[in-house]
Amino acid sequence: MLPNSEQFSALLSTLSADLVAFLPELILAGGITLLLFLRLFPQLCRVHSGFVAAGVVALALTTLLGNGHVTTNADWEPGAFTGLLRLDLFSQFLRGLLLLFTLLLLLLCDQTGIPDRDDSADFCVLLLGGTLGLMLMTSANHLLMVFIGLEMASLPSYALAGFLKGQRTGSEAALKYVVYGAASAGVTLYGISLLTAVFGTGNLVTVTQGLGHMIADSESVPLLPMAGLCFLFVGFGFKLAAVPFQFWLPDVFEGAAAEVSAFLSVASKAAAVGLTARVLLLLQEANPESVRLAETLGIALAVVATITATWGNLAALTQTNLKRMLGYSTIAHAGYMLMALSTLRKDGMAAVLVYLVMYLVMNLGAFAVVAVLRNRTGAETIAACRGLIARSPAVGVSLTIFLASLLGLPPLGGFVGKFLVFSAVYDAGQAYAVAGSPTLEWVYSLLLGVGIVNTVVSAGYYLAVLRSAGLDEAEATDASGHALPLGEPWGVAVYLVGLSIVLLILGLVWNPLITLATSAIR
């Protein structure tokens, strides 16, 4: 049954509108092709691919920001490309965040010299490919797209994790990552097939509508769709590194280059959080009056959040390797974000979007310091930080700001994120109490307490690094006993100081960001 000419032209005009909105992804795809082509011509190899890739990402970012016609989420109600993607403000926010992060990461890579010129084309292709997959994750509106996005993001990540050639730990970590990722992908795919089987479609809206009504209305929910949903969350949990899907993360972070760790810790997490938030929001929208969803899935997520944050923080306390410690801190932060997600409320989701922005800046900064340390001292341990402030004020002070922000001290961005998350949790407890569920009030109050205690515990390892950097004597000294300068290139110093200043500004002026995040959720 072919469409008639009128329907055909209507479809064409929707298609062209969809393509315009999809332009950033197309540009990335074009950039990947371009980078691969450049390798064929030896003359062109002299151009460092990092610059080309950064240019491509910058172009994509400008295009995305120029997409002014997406003003409300209602514009995208049916979804683009016959409902496969949902290029609304929410996805706009996260895609912008991902592109911005990739751009910053490419600039950092250019400064730190990982990868070298020979490998840079491969590295950049993988990075852009991963970003493309993550962007698809954030805008997926169909279970198929969810899976494609997850896999498109995961496969380049496996390769990136083992990118440091000739390093045993890196290769081993990459292999573990692949095995673990494959297992979780299998479970996810099983969940998707279950859901599709029950609801007859993979469209996320239809599936979540059906599920939401099932949970809210019926006395008992059939096992099949519930299992499907849980299996789906395995894939998200793997990307988020939530307990019990976090085992791969410390090993991979320790084995991979700091730049790659930054990518895995920030970009993967942003996309996973976005996707989870979208699914949870759709579920809640299916039946907004009912507290049953919160009483089942919300409590389960709160438990996972509690365990994840506590696990990450406790395990980080005993670490000596800086990257591994930051890996556990990543797990702990995933826990904080899950706390906000577990509220299943719009202000919780908005809080988590703001949290992601802060998290992007501070975690990127922390990993950048690790990269600098690796380049200048050859070690990535906490001991390598000794006397860092004396050796290099710019790096030392920046590290102080990043870690203080990760800990959540005002007036830095991390405090804002944590504050918004905690207040969202508190508000959720109050709101659910009004809605008639004292259990939930109790649960969210407990969750708030867990978050606060965890923050205190996290001071133990963040401050240990700062003590080492600020108070301990530097190991490398000159003849007269003065600390040797670290000798970082000025570009890196400018980069780090710039990130610190951004973090400080974000900690002081956060109203615009909240407005933006709230409009992305509504």
């Binding site: 673990y180 979780s184 008992s220 519930m226 969350f233 089942t296 389960a300």
Partner: protein, 656 residues
């Protein structure tokens, strides 16, 4: 520039600019010795501008004179709106003039006194900041802006008293000054916010006064708030029981003492109460407390001043005593109309600024010559050695003692008159005001006696100089003497020219908006604009002053101190400052130290507990470590088990 507020803003800005310039010059060793230039210039400029401002205020017509600068929002949070705005009215114009004029001459004196000091630039920078803070305090239109100046004054006093920070006694004195005045400031802030709450959430003076006088809160709140505000004044203006910091404050360089005592710090409390007169007249109970505290402080410190050996300490206690007079006058507001008591207090601030600055600078000149020795037992008979200093000191001492026709005589007499009138019309508090009146008279006698005791011990009898003086023992150079001479003329003539016949102060201050408002609260008719001279009272106070001076001459003309056996115990009491420091030490400092020791013990205990608690997460972390064993099979097992648990929980809960 015709608007007086612009002139006043400029007068405010110049010292701030000088602060920055002097501080910058201090960074360069060749420029540092010229650091006095911007400061003296700025002070002189401010004084001229203040004079212009005053003349504008005097020319202005109408029953109320006030010029307000355009308000700039300083900060705004909820109900609290604080503007940066300055008020030029008769009260602030007169104070500004006094402060900048006396400040200028003290700065000039400092140029000679502080030369070759290693911290020369720091000294002048802080002086300028001190004067700036005081000007800000005076010109502020808002209570919280006044607090900004108030705290600036406190900070600068701390830094300048502790100027010789390597000297332990100076550091201790600075700390004492800061902490003791801080005690009062706590009360003041509480008072401000009590008024803020009761006064329609205004901190702006005019709006607050208008609101409070239109809707007076209940008398308990009002009295509490007034007394809390008065706490700030007690601290800053060194009244009982918080006066203890002022005598120690002479650890700073002598010109700093002159600045603190004459111009920039201790008068702040008097000014605050004069400014807040509309609030205080609403509460007669608060007013009698003010008068009683003033009276008690006056006689207490006058008694202590009787037997001090340190010349500067005598002067310091005399300042405390004279400030007590000012508070007596202010406390009389209510029974007596507001314009009269404010005139009396501010007029005394004015004359006191001259003669106290003069006395301190003269003693500085003595100290300069005596090789920094200031103990009157170690020198004497200096009138032949230092003739100019001798004459200027005599002028100041006579003015302080209330010698007829000198400036102190007029202002002190006015205050005694106010207190007398209050005891006549004081209503239920008449007896107490009568007590204050008697105190004022006795204090007048004591003042004359101790002032001239110090004068005779220093300048009369045989010439004696301490060994520390060496060949330095000679008259000070002209650079030090010039300010003394100028101030001596002020001490002699400032009183008679301004008020008793010309009524410069009373005619001007009656037009200050806060005074007008206070009068309208009291329902006072406008006819009593200036005080009439009471010959009987003047006669009594003259007699007391002269007899005090005569007694001092009779006993101390030899320049040697002898104590009659009968008075030994009284003398000891005075010499040891009535053991007030010791009492405070026993009452507050010792218990605080015990508390500190106790806290330390508790801290040790808590520290142990905290260590144990902080060990727990580490322990659990170490227990979790083996789970991360690097075996991917185990990881997969963990994943599957976790998923199973998660699924079971969700399914079980949804099936309930």
């Amino acid at each position: 520039m015709s608007d007086p507020t612009n002139l006043a803003l400029l007068a405010l800005g110049l010292p701030l600019l000088a602060t920055i310039l002097a501080a910058v010059m201090g960074t360069c060793s060749t420029l540092a010795k010229w650091a006095h230039l911007p400061v003296v210039t700025a002070f002189a400029g401010s004084a001229i501008l203040a004079l212009l401002v005053l003349s504008k205020v005097m020319q202005a017509t109408g029953s109320e004179v006030a010029f307000l600068s355009t308000a700039q929002t300083w900060f705004h949070a909820g109900n609290l709106q604080v503007d940066f705005q300055i008020t030029v009215d008769p009260l602030s114009a007169l104070m500004l003039m006094t402060v900048t004029f006396v400040g200028t001459w003290i700065a000039v004196f400092s140029v000679g006194y502080m030369h070759d000091d290693p911290g020369y630039a720091r000294y002048f920078s802080l002086m300028a900041l001190f004067v700036f803070s005081m000007c800000l305090l005076i010109l502020a239109s808002d209570l919280l802006l006044l607090v900004a100046g108030w705290e600036g004054v406190g900070l600068c006093s701390y830094l300048l008293i502790g100027y010789y920070y390597a000297k332990p006694s100076a550091a201790a004195a600075a700390r004492k000054a800061f902490l003791v005045t801080r005690l009062g400031d706590v009360g003041m802030i509480l008072g401000i916010f009590l008024f803020w709450q009761a006064g329609g959430y205004h901190t702006n003076f005019d709006k607050l006064f208008a609101h409070i006088t239109a809707n007076p809160p209940d008398s308990v709140t009002l009295t509490t708030a007034c007394l809390l505000l008065f706490c700030g004044a007690i601290g800053k203006s060194a009244q009982f029981p918080l006066y203890v910091w002022l005598p120690d404050a002479m650890e700073g360089p002598t010109p700093v003492s002159a600045l603190i005592h004459a111009a920039t710090m201790v008068t702040a409390g008097v000014y605050l109460l004069a400014r807040a007169m509309p609030l205080f007249v609403l509460s007669p109970d608060a007013q009698i407390v003010v008068a009683l505290i003033g009276g008690f402080t006056a006689i207490l410190s006058a008694f202590i001043a009787l037997a001090q050996h340190d010349l500067k300490r005598v002067l310091a206690y005399s300042t405390v005593s004279q400030l007590g007079y000012m508070f007596m006058a202010l406390g009389a507001g209510g029974p007596v109309s507001a314009n009269l008591v404010v005139t009396a207090a501010i007029f005394h601030v004015f004359t006191h600024a001259f003669f106290k600055a003069l006395l301190f600078l003269s003693s500085g000149s003595v100290m300069h010559a005596m090789g920094n020795v200031i103990d009157m037992r170690k020198f004497g008979g200096l009138r032949t050695l230092m003739p100019v200093t001798h004459i200027t000191f005599l002028c100041g001492a006579a003015a302080l003692a209330g010698f007829p026709l000198l400036s102190g005589f007029w202002s002190k007499d006015l205050i005694i008159d106010m207190v007398y009138q209050a005891s006549e019309h004081g209503g239920s508090h008449a007896t107490l005001y009568g007590l204050v009146f008697l105190t004022a008279l006795v204090t007048a006698f004591l003042t004359a006696f101790y002032t001239f005791r110090a004068y005779f011990l220093t300048f009369w009898g045989e010439l004696r100089t301490p060994p520390e003086a060496g060949h330095h023992a000679q008259e000070s150079p002209l650079g030090l003497l010039a300010p003394l001479i100028v101030l001596a003329f002020g001490a002699v003539l400032a009183g008679i020219t301004v008020e008793p016949f010309a009524h410069g102060f009373s005619n001007l201050l009656v037009k200050a908006p806060s005074v007008v408002l206070a009068n309208s609260v009291l329902h006072v008719e406008a006819e009593a604009t200036h005080p009439h001279f009471d010959f009987a009272l003047a006669g009594i106070s003259t007699l007391l002053a002269l007899s005090g001076m005569a007694l001092a001459w009779w006993h101390y003309r030899t320049g040697i101190e002898t104590v009659p056996a009968a008075l030994k115990s009284v003398y000891r009491l005075s010499e040891n400052k009535l053991y007030v420091d010791e009492i405070f030490n026993g009452m507050f400092v010792k218990p605080a130290e015990w508390l500190a020791v106790l806290s330390r013990l508790c801290d040790g205990l808590l520290d142990g507990v905290a260590r144990v608690v902080s060990f727990i997460p580490r322990l659990i972390g170490a227990l979790l470590k083996p789970l991360q064993n690097g075996l991917v099979q185990f990881y997969a097992l963990g994943m599957v088990l976790g998923l199973a648990v998660f699924l079971t929980v969700v399914v079980v809960r949804t099936s309930q």
